[in-house]
Amino acid sequence: MAEAHDYKAIGTRPVRPDGVDKVTGRANFGADLNLPNMLHGKMLRSPHAHARIKRVDVSQALAMDGVYAACAGGDFPTNERTTDLAKNCMARDKALYHGHAVAAVAARTPYIAERALDLIEVEYEPLAPVLDVDEAMADGAILVNENLHTNGDASKPASNVAAIVKFERGDVEQGFAEADVVVEVDCRVPTAHQGYIEPHACTATINEEGEATVWCCTQGHFDVRSLTANVLGKSVGEIKVIPSEIGGGFGGKTIIYLEPIAVKLSEMSGRPVKMVMTREEVFRATGPTSATHCRAKVGAKRDGKITAASAWLAYEAGAFAGAPVGPGCMSILAPYDLEHFSIEGHDVLVNKPKVAAYRAPGAPQAMHAMESAIDDLARELGMDPIDLRLKNSADEGTQAPYGPVFPAIGFRKCLEATKAHPNYTKPKAEGTGRGVAAGFWFNIGMQSSAEARLSEDGTVTVVEGNPDIGGSRASMCLMAAETLGVPYDRVRTHVGDTESTGFCNVTGGSRTTFATGLAVVQACEDIIAQCKQRAAATWDIDVEQVDWADGQAIPKPGVNVDANPLSLRDIAKNAGRTGGPILGRASVNAQGAGASFSVNFADVKVDRETGKIDVLSFTGIQDAGTAIHPAYVEGQMQGGAVQGLGWALNEEYIYDENGVMENAGFLDYRVPVASDMPMIDTQIIEVPNPSHPYGVRGVGETPIVAPLAATSNAARDALGFRIADLPLSPPRVLEAIDNQADA
């Protein structure tokens, strides 16, 4: 198990290896590639939220000067095995949301392509849409998919509820009966978008033998390869995917929208095709996260011991099944050690874009509900909200609500650090409110490969397959340097394409530094093992008699040999003489991704004239296991906090009654700007993950979980009453203040 170490590289804050290219405009992102003879593709999108597609005719568009290809659903393999993803990339018999792709063209310029879209004829039979989770669950609701049955049970009538998940323990009724105080929160959170600044983009080309090459911005090019193959009915081996730099994803770039369409248009035209979404398309047609309706109930004894908790969650999946309600159910009570609880979640189809993963998918909405209830409970009991959580907190050995027993976790340390934090011990300013909330995310492991290649001058090139979305090359270099015992600047990390590196799952689930980091460490250990063999051969001793320390091979103490230590550089220089190039490699299916807990608190001020809430200070405290590059760990905590604050305060999809999003741009879908925010204070707690050689836990997702409830609880404190729904935007807050005054 990893203990506190005197690391040389880990824990330092060097400049990232890809940094200079990114501050000078050299780095190539998704839309930055241009190929000779390249065409520009554009997508025609459904003007209806729900409609049968009777006919699509692209002939007039194809006849237009400068147009070289056009396609629609009929051009893609369609049978009973056609995946939802394929139907989401290009509608077949039904358009399921406003903005659903129904046809595409490729033309000499983007401008011609756009005008050609006007010439595509589509005959629709508009259907009434179902637009809200409660409406969709009601008896007699309009069905998004007439063939969908809850949990696949075809003996029951078709339903918009794709799945119901349940977690129970003990006797929840008995638990509530034992309680002295019971509180309940019922809240709705509307659709929100990941809001990455770079729109989806790709360029594709395919040759006469059917071999396709795709350049794109993605969180996982191996997934792009398999998903594109799936949509096109091709084999994985026929597709090569080269990842560009990626301009943000937050889960939204773990799936595909454009790539198979661009390949198809390239196949039809015989020329490379580039497709770049507009911001409006990103909002209307790419995965936002679920709008939710949640109820949370919690009961406790006077002394603060929680006797029971229950939750009912309903998550919009969009047009196809797959809302992140399962993880929501599994997260909602994870911070607590409970005897009696019940949790029920619903995955519900509506005529809105199919949701995609968004940073700790499903957890922020669920924990907003429960952490609001816990806050109300603390008020009812007259307890400090940290003390209440300490009294009930999960710890090593606690059985998590979703089954297993927690190994070492950092939640209590986060709570204790909050209590001692100067921002918390400081009295809040006159007229302001303070709110606390807990956050949790699992983190995932999954498959990764890495190579470490020793160059002839002793420098090391690490090659792995996870797009660098926030400084991961630097983290890989640090772990490699630590393992090999060489300075950071002797290692470079390269993100290889699908043909130049082994398989890696997506950059997501907070897994990259953990799982790919593990592969990199093992690849470096492989180099060390080979270097020891080369040294042993050079010294004519047994390999068991060689140690590795501080980047060099040395004879073990007591081994009687006349030998100077051999550095990595020495061994590299003579690699040809001792057997050839030295190449370390590793592939893992990483297990034991450690859960990461957090505590956040905010001080806010409410302007009662305008309803505007200002965040005066925000503090994030989180268990990172071991912070490999602390500046980028802080960056994750700060960035996640501000995304969460945006979600809490302003961000929401506003739909008209026909299911058309009315605010599909950054002017009206208002993400936080610099002048909205204070500095975000962070404190990294380090409870090393026993399953990683350096104790890494994933840190990327947990930061967005607690800010929703922390903000709601702070507003509750400032206002004197709770507004359960989000966002706490000026119109909603003002209306609530007026209603309160009337009451």
Binding site: V20, T24, A31, Q194, I197, G247, Y632, G635, F666
Partner: protein
């Protein structure tokens, strides 16, 4: 469609380009001159990823037409470093880890340089309001604001 001949200066170098009349300066820079350092995040002037200096003034190049740049002096992210020497703002962004994905970074650096050119000693509030036209979804702005503060401090020390 007939294209318009535009003569301008880009990063101090005389350039010519043929623009379509409706083409934004952003698209002209990227597609006609091949300068892809300037990024598109929205094409509606809301995100600032396409920030450039037009005759020294900070603008969203997506809101300007290429033909409007006739005779102008345009500075893009590719022109902020002097030869092989990074501008202090670029250096401070690197040292302060003020970028994560990096897509907004060119716009922020151009905007921050424009601020420091006219106000070498801005306070935190001034920095935050000046940069309010640039969206960053990764960093939460904390390290960006600190990088600009660090750059201002170094400029003040050198002055």
């Amino acid at each position: 469609m007939s294209r318009v001949h535009v003569t301008l200066s880009v990063n101090g170098e005389p350039r010519e380009m043929l623009c379509e009349a409706h083409q934004s300066l952003l698209d002209a820079l990227r597609d006609e001159l091949g300068m892809t350092g300037t990024k598109e995040g929205c094409a509606t002037g809301d995100c600032g990823a396409c920030s450039v200096l037009a005759d020294g003034r900070l603008v969203c190049s997506c809101l300007m037409l290429g033909v409007e740049a006739e005779g102008m002096d345009i500075t893009t992210i590719e022109g902020i470093a002097q030869g092989s020497e990074l501008h202090v703002v670029q250096r401070k962004f690197l040292e302060a880890a003020a970028l994560q994905c990096g897509i907004c970074t060119p716009g922020f650096i151009v905007a921050a340089k424009a601020l420091l050119d006219q106000n070498p000693n801005p306070d935190e509030t001034t920095i935050r309001y000046w940069l309010a036209g640039n969206l960053c979804r990764c960093t939460g702005y904390d390290k960006i604001v600190r990088a600009v503060q660090d750059a201002a401090q170094e400029l003040a020390y050198e002055a």
